[in-house]
């Protein structure tokens, strides 16, 4: 039996004491979602990678102010998203481009059971409908459904309250439904 990998809380505590190897482990654990959140916010792969890197360094520097015992991922994603947004704005890119950058639809990959129920035509309609929404509506749906973040994580990444995530999601779904309709199962 191998030893169990250290849990996140232990890694955070060790990183706070200055153990960089523990923090590197945290980077490995979260770099995938951090990159995707950065990609959606920055709208450019290169900027997303740099933003995620910088965010991890900033988070390390700010770790002393992280409250132990609270979930690390929402706190981290808030920093990542902010860093990426700053880069997007500095580059003068419009937020509307972000979805297109993220939405590279798989062509040949074997579809999952879920995707078999979603025709290419319907996928395109949904992506087009999302792109037609205003930025606030689009970003909340992208974070909740395409990035599969929880409400707390979405709230952190977008810098809004959890209640706002709920209400904005509901409103955005209504608006998307008005554009693309709803397939009857």
């Amino acid at each position: 039996m191998g030893s169990r990998p250290p849990d996140e809380e232990t890694l955070v505590a060790r990183a706070k004491r200055g153990e960089t190897t523990a923090y590197e482990e945290l980077v490995r654990m979260h770099q995938g979602i951090a990159f995707r959140v950065a990609l959606v916010a920055a709208g450019d792969r290169g900027d997303a990678e740099e933003a995620a890197q910088d965010a991890f360094v900033k988070a390390y520097r700010a770790l002393g102010r992280f409250r132990e015992g609270s979930p690390f991922r929402p706190w981290l994603l808030r920093i990542v998203a902010n860093e990426a947004r700053n880069r997007r704005r500095a580059a003068g890119r419009r937020a509307g481009l972000t979805l297109r950058a993220a939405a590279v639809v798989s062509g040949d990959a074997a579809p999952s059971p879920e995707t078999t129920a979603l025709t290419r035509e319907r996928r395109d309609a949904l992506l087009g409908g999302l792109a037609a929404l205003d930025e606030r509506d689009r970003e909340v749906l992208v974070h909740r459904f395409l990035l599969e973040l929880g409400e707390d994580e979405t709230a952190a990444a977008l810098g809004i309250r959890r209640g706002t995530v709920k209400s904005r999601t509901s409103r955005a779904l209504d608006r998307l439904r008005a554009v693309v309709g709803e397939e009857v199962a």
């Binding site: 706070k16 200055g18 960089t20 590197e24 980077v27 490995r28 770099q31 995938g32 951090a34 995707r36 990609l39 990678e49 995620a52 890197q53 991890f56 360094v57 900033k58 988070a59 390390y60 520097r61 700010a62 770790l63 002393g64 102010r65 992280f66 706190w75 808030r78 920093i79 902010n82 860093e83 947004r85 700053n86 704005r89 993220a102 939405a103 590279v104 639809v105 798989s106 990959a109 579809p111 999952s112 879920e114 995707t115 129920a117 979603l118 996928r123 949904l126 992506l127 459904f145 395409l146 599969e148 810098g159 309250r161 706002t164 779904l173 998307l176 439904r177 709803e182 009857v184 199962a185």
Partner: protein, 249 residues
């Protein structure tokens, strides 16, 4: 989950995300060089704060019975002090205390400290005001009034300039974090900003709006957002202000 939510969840599977890069090789070498803030003690001793509070109260000439300091919170170079029964402020504002009108480029050249650009995605400020070495302010005007004022000042503890904020008992004070930066939200009551100038004199700054206030300590510069806006909007304003190019070492 309704039908459309199920479709969006399925859409997630249909999106082929670019491979996530391994960030560790790029991040790890920067960790050793990163200052570990949790080991840095704020050099401002409580005794010094007490002296400054006393000085502020003396300047205000508030009767002792009304000067019971109920609470204070620290943020960068600012201290928030809650004082019972503080008199409401007149609405008259004299914006001259925010400094002279300047272009952003001139402010950049003469401010003497790092500060963030105006929030992106908003209409540009109607006015930039500069008090060299003390503060840079962005103003969105509405006739003689201001809809929004964003002020930045060097706020690292130990700096000779300290800002004090006195809050009435009705003011709600929430301390929270924005992207790891300490933030304080003041809502619901009158407050006045006092500034301890580098020469040690305490001056009362009258230029501020009587609306809600957000203070954020970002890399040694305090950003203050004031206006008739709620906390989420104030946070949005700060988030839309890119960190100063010189703030990242």
């Amino acid at each position: 989950m309704n039908g459309l939510e199920r479709e969006l969840a399925a859409l997630s599977d249909a999106v082929e995300w670019p491979d996530s890069p391994d960030l560790v090789p790029a991040v790890a070498p920067r960790l050793d060089a990163a200052p570990r803030r949790w080991l840095v003690r704020r050099p401002l001793a409580i005794a010094v704060v007490a002296v400054l509070v006393a000085a502020v109260l003396a300047v205000l000439a508030v009767p002792p019975a009304r000067t019971a300091v109920l609470d204070w919170l620290g943020i960068g170079g600012a201290r928030i002090v809650r004082v019972a029964d503080l008199s409401p402020l007149p609405l008259h504002q004299d914006l001259e205390v925010l400094g002279r009108p300047a272009t952003l480029a001139a402010a950049r050249a003469q401010a003497g400290f790092s500060f963030a650009d105006p929030p992106r995605g908003e209409p540009g400020p109607d006015e930039v005001r500069l008090a060299p070495g003390l503060r840079v302010s962005y103003l969105w005007r509405e006739g003689a009034d201001a809809r929004l004022i964003v002020t930045q000042f060097p706020g690292r503890a130990g700096d000779p300039a300290l800002l004090k904020k006195l809050a009435g008992g009705a003011t709600r004070i929430d301390r929270f974090s924005i992207d790891g930066d300490t933030a304080v939200w003041l809502e619901g009551g009158p407050h006045v900003v006092l500034f301890v100038a580098p020469d040690g004199l305490i001056r009362e700054d009258h230029g501020w709006l009587a609306g809600n206030t957000l203070l954020v300590d970002r890399d040694g510069t305090t950003i203050r957002v004031e206006g008739a806006l709620d906390r989420a909007d104030a946070v949005d304003v700060v988030r839309a202000m890119p960190a100063s190019p010189s703030s990242e070492g």
